[in-house]
């Protein structure tokens, strides 16, 4: 009987807290949103299930959770805590990204820079709320709308906030179709939303091969802190565009990125134990995260309008909203909002240019923050 009672004391029924219960509900909501609403299912299903797994209270003395020495989950989480997984994801993203639209219309690259205002204004907001400079940098990168970049930087600057920042970044990326359209409509007139842009020019294979090498050199000379992310991104792209490493490119953009996404999503989810996750700080991070996406979207749209003051061939300002990276969701949102006004206006290919430029911009921003705030 004693043994049975002792066993009962170790079950989750006895050790479960209200916080764990709330987190399990959140995990179930994530999985439900992914399956029923199709919100970023490749990320929300692993993260959501990880949240459920991570909130089953571990038995003291047994290595079970990501925070227990020697546990299996801890070994998987090692790839997150040491910033190993994000560069591997960037390799896969590079191997699946076509920079043609950006190469055909280089002025749209600037929209990817303008949207990074979200990072730096969120940093100011976090400092204002009392976070340390390193924590503020890690929170600010949520405005880059790039999950792997957010995880990478927070693992370097504020590992204790990694779970909250990762969940906030991925949640808001899934909510891009909800967050962005009101801002885009508020800041543009109907006439602006109706602007049609000329089709992109043909880009030769040689341009596509030269670009990743040259762009990497430019970006890494200016912001050496970004070499890990930018280097892997452009290496993946070179594998794709060189046409002689098709097998490697295929592995990077299919099997490898899928494996890393599973491990990253699941272990980030499992790191959100209620005891470490349900804190007032997390609520502030979620608030700042929402603000950062809104500011980044507004930054891109307003900068497109500013550029139109000087351009003969006008840019549809909606395209500026794709400057927040969130590839390719924000570009899809631009297409959807544009087509509501004019069903025959196809903005997707134009929006992909600031979209991929936004990936570069957020990675460079992360490199800057890392090098400035690491000490």
């Amino acid at each position: 009987m004693d043994i049975f009672l002792q066993f009962l004391g170790t079950t989750a029924f006895a050790t479960m807290t209200m916080g764990n219960f709330i987190m399990i509900i959140i995990g179930i909501i994530f999985v439900t949103l992914a399956i029923r609403k199709d919100y970023e299912p490749l990320l929300l299903v692993p993260i959501g299930f990880g949240v459920i797994v991570g909130n089953i209270p571990p038995i003291p003395g047994m290595g079970l959770s990501v925070y227990d020495e020697g546990s299996v989950l801890r070994y998987i989480y090692f790839g997150v805590s040491q910033g190993i997984f994000p560069p591997l994801i960037f390799l896969g993203i590079g191997a699946m990204t076509d920079f043609s639209t950006m190469l055909s219309n280089p002025k749209l690259v600037l929209l990817g820079a303008a949207a990074q205002i979200g990072i730096f204004l969120t940093l100011l907001g976090a400092l204002f709320l009392g976070f340390s400079p390193a924590e503020s940098g890690a929170i600010g990168i949520i405005g880059g709308a790039d999950g792997p970049t957010a995880i990478f930087l927070s693992s370097k600057l504020a590992p204790h906030l990694l779970g909250s920042i990762a969940i906030a970044a991925y949640s808001y990326m899934a909510l891009v179709p909800v967050l962005q359209p009101p801002v885009m409509k508020l800041l543009t007139t109907r006439e602006e939303r109706l602007i049609r842009m000329p089709p992109p020019r043909f880009v030769s294979q040689r341009e596509k091969i030269i670009f990743p090498i040259a762009a990497f050199l430019i970006a890494s000379f200016i912001a050496p802190g970004a070499i890990v992310l930018i280097g892997m991104l452009f290496f993946g792209n070179l594998l794709k565009e060189s046409c002689v490493t098709e097998r490697l490119a295929n592995t990077a953009r299919n099997a490898m990125i899928d494996i890393v996404t599973i491990l990253l999503g699941f272990s980030v989810g499992a790191s959100t134990q209620a005891q470490t996750f349900l804190t007032p700080q997390s609520l502030l991070i979620f608030g700042l995260g929402a603000l950062s996406f809104i500011v980044a979207t507004a930054g891109g749209v307003l900068f497109a309008k500013f550029m139109n003051l000087f351009l003969k061939e006008k840019i549809n300002p909606l395209v500026g909203a794709a400057g927040v990276s969130a590839v390719p969701d924000s570009a899809r949102v631009v297409q959807a909002v544009g087509q509501k006004e004019d069903p025959h206006n196809f903005l997707l290919m134009h929006a992909m240019a600031p979209n991929v430029a936004g990936v570069l911009g957020s990675a460079i921003g992360a490199g800057i923050l890392w090098s400035v705030l690491v000490n």
């Binding site: 950006m102 190469l103 280089p106 002025k107 690259v109 600037l110 990817g112 820079a113 990074q116 205002i117 990072i119 730096f120 204004l121 940093l123 100011l124 400092l127 204002f128 709320l129 009392g130 340390s132 400079p133 503020s136 940098g137 030769s204 294979q205 040689r206 341009e207 030269i210 670009f211 040259a214 762009a215 430019i218 970006a219 200016i222 912001a223 060189s242 046409c243 002689v244 098709e246 430029a357 570069l360 911009g361 460079i364 921003g365 800057i368 923050l369 400035v372 705030l373």
Partner: protein, 85 residues
Amino acid sequence: MSYDNIIAGNGIGISITGMLIVFSALILISLFISMLPKLLPALEKLFPEQHHHGAAVKKEEDHTPILAAIGYALYCKKTGTLPKK
């Protein structure tokens, strides 16, 4: 919650410098992309394109027969002349 935290953390300096660096990097990349089509002819003279031993670039497949079949099937469905199995 205080504006002093921003000053103490040198927030404004970091933000302005950060935005300037991001813009500089992307402006330089943008300028390079703009010049690339002009550089290519010079590059072509130095390194003319040649066949290599690696995998060839896949040529665009001719999808005309498939498109024609889809178009015919849609036409038959619309006009009610789709043959029954």
